[in-house]
Amino acid sequence: MAETNWFYDFPKMDKAQLTAIKKHLDTAYRDFSRNYGEAIENFFEPLLNLMVWFENLLLATPWWLMIIILCGLSYLASRSYKLSVGVFAALLSIGYLSMWDDTMRTLSIITICTLIAIALGIPIGIIMARSNLARSIITPLLDIMQTMPAFVYLIPVVMLLGIGKIPGLIAVVIYAIPPVIRFTNLGIRLVDKEVLEAATAFGANKSQRLWGVQVPLALPTIMAGINQTIMMALAMVVIASMIGVKGLGQPVLKSITNQYFTLGLFNGLAIVALAIIFDRVSSAYAKRSQKQYQEQNDE
């Protein structure tokens, strides 16, 4: 043994030892998931019910009503006829190519994932903006979350909760949440110091400064983060279909394994269409909220 040349061979840990470590960690995690899996599952039960309810709602709504609602929403957010016409055309072709139900399922999970990511991400971003200590802890975590191959954190989630909607949701949220956190932090840190100083000088306390000055002024930046979060959630939906998330990702997965080129292309295009709709609508909304005080200039 001593003859191994460390100069040419990397000095390795003993194979048996390495296996033991892996085995030990795996067993520990398996025991953890056996003991607590059910409790955690129960914890997520209300969320699961919400997801099922929302998906069923979207599926049960007649297609023409759904199209009216979606076109109406996109008009409300962007005030642009062109965009609404585009949304209308995209939805019609999706339905005509018989991808309506899958699209509704994807729409449902994306909506819920985005809402959760916003609800968690904005407060985390605010904490991060307020304390440099929090920032120095959270930033590397976000770096890990963004660079770790998405498949790797599917594994523990599946071990803990099995396959289905909730593990899919968790994976999507973990993958998609970093931008909204980062942009909230950035937006709040970029608020003009003198404006904040003025608020302080007039006796504003911490929460008056936060909600009256920092968050409103950071809003355009936060909206950009939300937009990024939505895009990442859509990208993750295909990967999440591997652990049983229904929607447009599953036909894509099926066409990879069976080499159905056209099926893959159509569903891929439907995802692209959804992404463009979400992107255009949310960025048009962001732009409009930012311009609010410029537009009145023209009066």
Binding site: A199, F202, G203
Partner: protein, 279 residues
């Protein structure tokens, strides 16, 4: 050129006693050396600390316009931020209306800022997302005044500073002079005894500056506020001030009425300043 005001009735409202401000990692540790008169250069080289303010003592009377004048780096902006404790001194007392504000807790300090002291900023510090009406009403909103009352009040001040009809505009639509009028109206609307003005007219062009100075003098003749006014411009100091404190390297080198400063400059530095004054 002087305010005729009531200097005769000298009733102190602000007192600062042996105030020092040292910037750096551990200001208290070098305070002794600072008090013994170590030079700015030596302190920086030996300890990495800088002296912001050195042994400041002053008394400001009720209804007085007290000008603090100095060039950039003299510590004037640091000093004015001590009056409402936007900056805490390293050591010293700041007594306002008989109360040492150094001892105030955070919530008391916020209440003090709301009711006792208002501030006008060099670059206006207006809220870009609020219209003029909401900007002027900002202090009142923080005070918890209800909507109708604060809008009534804010509208009155908008009219007084000459911005009638601009209520629903946003700051970015106004010129510099108009923005500073909003800043002034916002500070006056909270109706505090003391008004801090940190180089309020320095960012404005000369014509507008003169106009604003005249407007402030006129307002002051009715309001009799205690105004602490910062400037780097001697002409402005002489025009506005009942008394002037000249600040250099964090020290007050002369504190006097404008006439006295013109007649008897305390040292060559002041004399140099005064030389070019046009009467």
């Amino acid at each position: 050129m002087m305010n005729d005001s009531n200097i005769a009735m000298t009733q102190p409202i602000v007192e600062i006693k042996s105030l020092y401000k040292v910037f750096g990692k551990n200001p208290k540790s070098v305070l002794k050396a600072v008090k013994q008169g170590i030079s700015k250069q030596a302190l920086l080289e030996q300890t990495g600390h800088t002296i912001g303010l050195f042994d400041i003592n002053l008394t400001i009377n009720r209804g007085e316009v007290f000008v603090i004048m100095g060039l950039s780096g003299s510590g004037k902006s640091t000093l004015i931020r001590h009056f409402n404790r936007m900056i805490d001194p390293t050591v010293g007392e700041i007594i306002i209306d008989g109360q040492n504000i150094i001892q105030l807790k955070q919530s008391q300090l916020e209440a003090f800022r709301r009711h006792k002291i208002a501030m006008v900023f060099q670059n206006f510090g207006l809220m870009p997302h609020l219209n003029i009406l909401d900007n002027v009403a900002y202090g009142l909103k923080i005070n918890g005044v209800n909507k109708t009352e604060r809008y009534d009040h804010a509208k009155r001040w908008i009219n007084i500073v000459g911005l009638e009809g601009y209520d629903l505009q946003f700051p970015m639509q106004l010129s510099g002079g108009q923005k500073q009028r909003v800043g002034l109206a916002r500070a006056l609307a909270v109706d505090t005894d003391i008004l801090l003005m940190d180089e309020p007219f320095s960012a404005l062009d000369p014509l507008i500056r003169r106009e604003m100075q005249a407007q402030l003098i006129e307002l002051q003749s009715n309001l009799h506020k205690t105004i602490i006014f910062i400037t780097h411009d001697l002409d402005e100091a002489l025009k506005m001030g009942d008394r002037i404190a000249i600040l250099k390297d964090g020290k007050i080198i002369q504190l006097d009425t404008p006439e006295e400063i013109l007649k008897n400059p305390a040292d060559d530095y002041v004399a140099d300043f005064v030389r070019d004054v046009k009467f």
